[in-house]
């Protein structure tokens, strides 16, 4: 099999100008992932700076109300910067530093990856520039200011649909112009090889901790692991440790926006077809001529027309299932978890909570669902208020 493939998917579909950069990264990562100094330094940062391990919380009230399987929440929202994104950026920015780079660039949708990258760059003395679609800078104005506060320069991307995919285009174009001192810190398990493998490796700590923590709490494996999927980094991180455990069902929740039958959605597995875009072969929402579709979700972090290649393969091989969750279901879950457990989830993560809400009552009381709560919802409060028609001053 060719390198960087997950079944048919993945690959390295990049302009020639960037091939040297991705191959340099591949070589550096191949070395540092086995380098004891690198591993120790990263472990130290994850523990002392990001706050790992994150809690595995038994949501007793939710469990009781839903009346079925036990629901556990993996609290990635409690990490420094408020989401799982920090796991990956600490790894990649540290890697950039070891490679002798002095500048990092990144795309961001909701702003979580941008904030995390800006944070790691501040900590490790790197220049940082973030690309964000204009629509997202409006939906997530506070995160723009937050990134600037951390010393990053934020570029507003005004091409195309002005959302996450356009932010990726903008960052790729910037990298093409300047790569000698710059590393593209990609935020999800997507893009050309080696990014899907690097990001998954830096995120797999989530599943590893879930397994250890649940073994202590319950003495067994979970029956189901649920996570939201845009590009799919938190899901891949939560799933990876369990791929070889066939009894554990893996479920990814895609953003269905106004519904899978409505053009305003971002459910790639449900509606997409195989294509090649952003450096990878995978599923994409597109038309019959291969034009990438303008997708939609209330969640800026899931508003992406593709999915990571390893997920595409997990779906084809039936090792994981992918289900669509609408805006309405996600907002309902957002409010439900806030009210029931006093935990405000990111609207992205609320997609996973929404599915758990449907699934738990259908399962037996001795079964276990782990929901990866990938981020906290503070950033979404204003958007949810707008969705509900409540007028507030930000």
């Amino acid at each position: 099999m060719k390198k960087g493939r997950f079944g048919h998917y993945g690959g390295q579909y990049m302009p020639e100008t960037l091939m040297m950069a991705v191959q340099e990264l591949e070589e550096a990562y191949g070395f540092y992932k086995n380098d004891p100094d690198f591993i120790n330094e990263l472990d130290g940062l994850l523990k002392n700076y990001a706050g790992r391990p994150s809690l595995l919380y038994y949501a007793e009230k939710v469990t009781r109300e839903l009346g079925g399987a036990k629901v556990y929440l993996k609290r990635e929202d409690l990490n420094h910067t408020g989401s799982h994104k920090i796991n990956n950026v600490l790894g990649q920015v540290l890697l950039a530093k070891r490679m002798g780079k002095t500048r990092v660039i990144a795309e961001t949708g909701a702003g979580q990856h941008g904030v995390a990258t800006a944070t790691a760059a501040a900590l490790m003395d790197m220049e940082c520039e973030i690309f964000m679609g204009k629509e997202d800078t409006e939906r997530q104005a506070l995160n723009v200011f937050r990134m600037e506060l951390l010393g990053a320069k934020v570029h507003t991307v005004t091409s195309g649909t002005m959302t996450l995919k356009d932010a990726v285009n903008g960052t790729m174009r910037e990298w093409t112009a300047r790569m000698d001192d710059t590393l593209y810190v990609l935020g999800s398990v997507m893009g050309p090889h080696p990014f899907p493998a690097i990001v998954r490796d830096f995120q797999k700590v989530i599943g590893k901790e879930i397994k250890e923590q649940l073994m202590v709490a319950e003495g067994k494996l979970p029956d189901v692991v649920v996570a939201c999927v845009g590009g799919g980094s938190n899901a891949m991180g939560a799933f990876y440790e369990f791929i070889q455990d066939p009894s554990v069902k893996l479920i990814g929740c895609e953003a269905a926006g106004l519904g899978v039958d409505n053009p305003k959605n971002a459910a790639t597995i449900a509606n997409g077809t195989v294509g090649v875009f952003h450096g990878m072969k995978s599923y994409f929402c597109q038309d019959e001529y291969g034009q990438i579709a303008p997708v939609y979700s209330i969640s800026a972090g899931l508003d992406y027309p593709g999915i990571g290649p390893e997920h595409a393969n997990l779906s084809d091989t039936d090792r994981a299932q992918y289900v669509p969750i609408t805006d309405a279901e996600a907002v309902d879950a957002f409010e439900y978890l806030s009210r029931t457990e006093g935990i405000i989830p990111a609207v992205e993560s609320a997609h996973a909570v929404a599915f758990a809400k449907k699934l738990a009552p259908t399962m037996a009381k001795d079964q276990i669902i782990v929901v990866n709560l990938s981020g906290r919802g503070d950033k979404d409060v204003a958007a949810i208020a707008r969705y509900k028609g409540v007028s507030i001053h930000e």
């Binding site: 302009p15 020639e16 040297m20 950069a21 995919k165 001529y289 291969g290």
Partner: protein
């Protein structure tokens, strides 16, 4: 001798680029023969893509205009078939892998052959992934044009050895678009190619003035100009035939003058 090889024989080839269907198919259909008349030796037609990651703002906007105007791959095939009745100039399609892949690789290349397309350029398909199209291109006798960049270094040998038609020599880092100067040592890149193959080298990215075209023509076998022409189409729209022809003549003259 193929039409592409022929276009490079005994001359430095001038290769203008326009985005197909910008602002509409009718204009593209007039522009192609007009550019041939004005001195173009090969013509590169872009199939618009929603997310052209290797393009600067000028071609991005052209793609958007074309798609908004209803341009599709099928409409461009039909247009090329009509153009082929009028001219023997080598015609190339430039597009991203996804429009080809989604159309169906076999169907796309067989239609290329039917309509008289001579070669294709796919900027997001590097050497490592060219198996995706190489065989089906060969089957239909369409040249799959290879690209080399200022960062290619040792890769140049690897790429040049398997090159067909001509080699697209990317002059600068970054995306397409007009540049005030070109800093890369193009002569050195071409020399590296020469060590392994006789396939001609055409250089592009950033070239916009007759002087730049002239100095590039001294170093390479051909000169590609894209964004500068697309800018004229953006400005003059349906009335761009005349200004584009005039511009193409000026570039052709710049190339010829440099070689005197």
């Amino acid at each position: 001798m193929s039409r592409i090889t022929n276009a490079f024989a005994n001359r430095k080839a001038f290769i203008p680029f326009i985005t197909g269907g910008d602002p509409d198919i009718e204009t593209t259909e007039k522009l192609v023969p007009a550019m041939v008349e004005a001195g173009a030796d090969l013509i590169e037609i872009g199939i618009p893509f929603s997310d052209p990651v290797a393009e600067g703002i000028v071609i991005q906007e052209a793609d958007e205009r074309a798609l908004k105007g209803g341009c599709t791959t099928d409409k461009l095939f039909d247009m090329v078939l009509r153009i082929r009745q009028k001219t023997d100039v080598p015609l190339l399609f430039m597009t991203y892998l996804n429009p080809i892949f989604t159309y169906g690789k076999e169907k796309f290349l067989s239609r290329c052959a039917e309509c008289g397309i001579d070669g294709i350029i796919v900027p997001d398909m590097p050497f490592e992934e060219k198996d995706e199209l190489a065989n089906v291109c060969e089957l239909h006798e369409i040249d799959l044009i290879s690209m080399i960049a200022p960062t290619s270094k040792e890769r140049i040998t690897l790429i040049a050895k398997e090159a067909r038609g001509f080699i697209y020599c990317v002059s600068s880092l970054g995306v397409t678009g007009v540049r005030s100067e070109i800093k890369t040592d193009i002569g050195k890149m071409v020399q590296k190619v020469r060590e392994v193959t006789g396939v001609p080298c055409a250089t592009g990215f950033g070239i916009s003035t007759p002087e730049q075209a002239g100095s590039m023509a001294r170093l390479a076998d051909g000169v590609i100009v894209g964004s500068a022409i697309v800018k004229l189409v953006a400005e003059f729209g349906k009335d761009s035939v005349e200004p584009v022809s005039e511009y193409v003549r000026s570039i052709k003259k710049g190339i010829e003058d440099a070689l005197k």
